[in-house]
């Protein structure tokens, strides 16, 4: 498992490739890789968005994400997982989050990946502040429930 918090832009495809190559223990064992990439939009709630700042609670973020992955590993036979999350100043079209899950079979990969992503949205201590095109700033009040 790897949890990585990035203050600079990251390239999800490179992160996935590098991690998969380094995780030699699962070579030949995984038949499914599920990938979720969350990318910043240039619109939200009817407004044009120019940029965003992502604050986090260092230490607690990693602790909660490790706990979430451990929970997923108890529920599904996950071989390995990688989470990369941006913090700091972010521009539209930049990736915000990557969740990659490796399993032997596809159902477990989809289910574990969804669990990790939804748990991250409700429990990992990150906070988004948007900068609107009108130059006003606003904190996002809460995340939506991805299952609705």
């Amino acid at each position: 498992m790897r949890i990585k918090i990035c203050a600079e832009p990251f390239e999800p495809w490179q992160e996935i490739q590098a991690y998969q190559q380094s995780a030699i223990g699962m070579a030949g064992k995984f038949g499914a890789t599920s990938l979720f990439i969350g990318t910043m939009r240039d619109f939200n709630d009817g407004d044009d968005i120019q940029g965003m700042t992502l604050e986090h609670y260092p230490g607690m973020t990693e602790k909660q994400l490790e706990k979430i992955v451990a929970e997923a590993m108890q529920q599904w036979p996950v071989l390995d997982a990688l989470i990369v999350h941006r913090v700091g100043d972010i521009l539209p079209n930049e990736p915000i989050v990557l969740v990659a899950v490796w399993t032997s079979h596809r159902g477990d990969a989809f289910d574990a990946s969804r669990y990790i992503m939804e748990a991250l949205k409700s429990r990992a201590p990150f906070w988004k502040k948007e900068l609107l095109a009108s130059q006003t700033e606003r904190w996002l009040l809460k995340n939506t429930d991805g299952y609705l």
Binding site: G38, L54, E55, H56, Y57, G59, M60, K63, Q64, H85, I96, V97, M117, L120, K121, S122, R123, A124, P125, F126, W127, K128, K129, W139, L140, L141, K142, N143
Partner: protein
């Protein structure tokens, strides 16, 4: 006992600081810690609390050396 209190995001802006260090005596819950640090401000609705980086209820009792954090609902991902 000695308690470190931290605030994040919009809550940090509304209290006007990112942390407090309290020296207080007696059995205290997380809600008591908020009242000691912010006597003139009620804890906002929806505030989440953590002790030593684990989520807790406001009724959780703190111990000497704990780090207590208050923050709004999380919005990452």
């Amino acid at each position: 006992m000695s308690i470190k209190v931290r605030y994040f995001a919009s809550l940090k802006e509304s209290v006007g600081r990112s942390e407090d260090r309290l020296e207080i005596a007696g059995l205290l819950t997380v809600a008591d810690v908020w009242r000691a640090a912010n006597p003139d401000k009620a804890i906002p609705d929806n505030t989440l609390a953590a002790v030593n980086m684990n989520y807790v209820a406001l009724t959780h009792e703190v111990e000497d050396g704990d780090e207590v954090a208050f923050f709004p609902p999380v919005t990452g991902g």
